[in-house]
């Protein structure tokens, strides 16, 4: 990871904007931001991030590479798409936030303990196993993602929700033993591996 970070730094030394344009999902649209701030005013997490979207875009242009990549701001995206719906310049802001988060993860720059980064990885690993999300296992993985002690506490505090879901037929305790899945899991995993390889190769190419 850090090797990759060094490589990218060397390749795009003079321009973080170019690096983002080449490697971040929909990154080519960052330069279109006109700094109006409608995205900030539309974001449900506006009380919680360090940098609003338009500020991140300006920081990208100002070469503030480390500050952007290590920020927790893009990890706060709830995918509500309000910013996309309202941006007068048509920037796909939600996707750029997702892309920045993913790129930061590739380079090993995710802030320590970032809960959404952790949970998102758990979900991805979960769905990859059987091709469908196992809601029970994902819930338990979430409770225990910060260690056993905290997990027990969290699971107990969520007991009312869990039992309520079981009682109303919306959660099956037997899912722990297998549960819903697809037939061609091997094929799905093969396809994902190929897609991953193509994406990695694409990012490794220098496009500065």
């Amino acid at each position: 990871m850090s090797d990759m970070n060094q490589n990218m730094l060397a390749k795009y030394r003079s321009s973080f904007l170019k690096e983002v344009e080449a490697n971040v999902e929909e990154g080519h649209m960052v330069k279109m931001c006109m700094q109006c701030g409608v995205c900030s005013g539309s974001c449900p997490m506006q009380n919680h991030w360090d940098h609003p979207p338009q500020e991140l875009f300006m920081m990208i242009r100002a070469n503030k590479r480390e500050e952007v990549l290590t920020s927790s701001s893009m990890w706060m995206c709830t995918s509500c798409y309000n910013c996309i719906a309202r941006c007068p310049r048509g920037l796909p802001i939600t996707h750029i936030m997702h892309g920045l988060a993913t790129y930061a993860k590739r380079l090993g720059k995710v802030p320590e303990g970032q809960p959404t980064a952790k949970f998102a990885q758990k979900m991805w690993d979960n769905l990859k196993q059987k091709g469908r999300t196992n809601e029970l296992k994902l819930g338990l993985a979430l409770y225990f993602m910060n260690g056993f002690g905290e997990g027990v506490k969290k699971a107990l505090s969520m007991q009312d929700v869990g039992l309520g879901m079981v009682k109303t037929g919306r959660l099956n305790p037997m899912e722990l033993l297998g549960g819903h899945g697809i037939k061609d899991v091997a094929g799905l995993q093969k396809m994902l591996a190929k897609a991953e390889a193509i994406e990695n190769q694409h990012i490794a190419e220098y496009k500065g």
Binding site: E25, P44, M45, H48, M76, T78, S79, C80, Y81, N82, I84, A85, P92, T94, H98, G99, A101, T102, K105, R106, P115, T116, A117, K118, F119, A120, Q121, M123, W124, L127, G131, R132, T133, E135, G139, L142, V161, G164, M165, K167, T168, G169, R170, L171, N172, E175, H180, I182, K183, D184, L188, K190, M191, L192, K194, A195, E196, I198, E199, H202
Partner: protein, 299 residues
């Protein structure tokens, strides 16, 4: 042959004993009444929802939807793909649009699918949300013609939420004040809360799991606005909205000293009751907060 036929992508939450089991059951009842045939996509997989980006990046994430599209096409040709889940629908439609406008994505997805002998032939079929089909293809008049028990006396906050509404939405509706859920509620004989100010506000989505305090704060406002409007219940078109707004009310009450206990019922449950089905057939047994007023009408 059924009057309407669709390729059906239920999604992980609409399987037996998963979080939207009640939604799934009500949808089946309603679709049977409206002569809508839902032909399931064989061996469909998870779309990776809103947070698939972090684990999967762009291409692997989109390949999940591409596989579903290819399988749908293989089994059901160009028939529209319909999903009851906002995230499933959005992800599928996003994959279709991204591959149409981005040659690099298109070639990557083609190569990933080829790895397992799949291919999307020509144009990908359209991806649509269940509510879109009900409003656009079936229409309010036909829905009204099926109403046997009008939901008189019920006041309902139509909570459209995010991903059923943005970034794609329903044709002809505004992102800021969509009216279709209100119209549907009125069609069933209930009274929609006029100017429900939180109708398109975010419930936190998947961040309800990873950032529960921040997300519960958002849900608190959504519920409060429904009470302010005099609502008996909140009605969303999305499994994540439904769950987030219903099941954490106890936790929110603890944190904020509120006394919330408002039922959150899918539009499909409403339709099933209005079409004359009893509580069980309408899947009202799936409510953690009982929808008593609706149960009384259903009998």
């Amino acid at each position: 042959m059924a009057k309407y036929e669709f390729s059906y992508y239920p999604g992980c939450s609409s399987q037996s004993k998963t979080s939207a089991d009640n939604y799934m059951r009500a949808n089946k009842v309603v679709c049977a009444d409206l002569d809508i045939a839902l032909k399931e996509i064989p061996d469909w997989n998870c779309c990776s929802a809103s947070i698939g980006y972090a684990g999967g990046g762009e291409l692997p994430r989109l390949s999940l939807s591409a596989r579903n599209i290819a399988l749908s096409q293989q089994a059901h040709g160009q028939t529209d793909i319909v999903s009851p889940c906002a995230a499933c629908w959005r992800a599928t439609r996003e994959a279709k649009e991204r591959m149409e406008e981005n040659a690099h994505v298109k070639s990557g997805l083609t190569a990933a699918l080829a790895e397992i002998g799949l291919k999307i032939e020509g144009e990908a079929p359209k991806a649509r949300h269940m509510v879109e089909v009900l409003v656009e293809d079936v229409g309010y008049d036909e829905i009204k013609s099926k109403v046997k028990k009008p939901l008189a006396g019920l006041k309902i906050a139509g909570y459209v939420g995010c991903q059923t509404n943005r970034p794609f939405g329903i044709d002809g509706e505004s992102f800021e004040n969509p009216r279709y859920l209100d119209k549907m509620v009125a069609t069933l004989g209930a009274e929609p809360v006029e100017n429900y100010e939180k109708k398109v506000s975010c419930c936190g989505g998947a961040l309800m799991f990873s950032e529960p305090e921040k997300s519960q704060r958002l849900v608190k406002d959504i519920i409060e606005a429904a009470y302010d409007g005099g609502a008996d219940m909140i009605v969303p078109p999305c499994p994540v909205c439904q769950m987030n707004v219903e099941v954490y009310q106890g936790h929110i009450n603890k944190t904020y000293g509120t006394k919330f206990a408002i039922p959150v019922v899918y539009y499909s449950n409403l339709m099933a009751v209005a079409f004359g089905h009893n509580s069980k057939e309408s899947a009202l047994d799936g409510q953690m907060i009982k929808a008593s007023k609706l149960e009384q009408i259903a009998g």
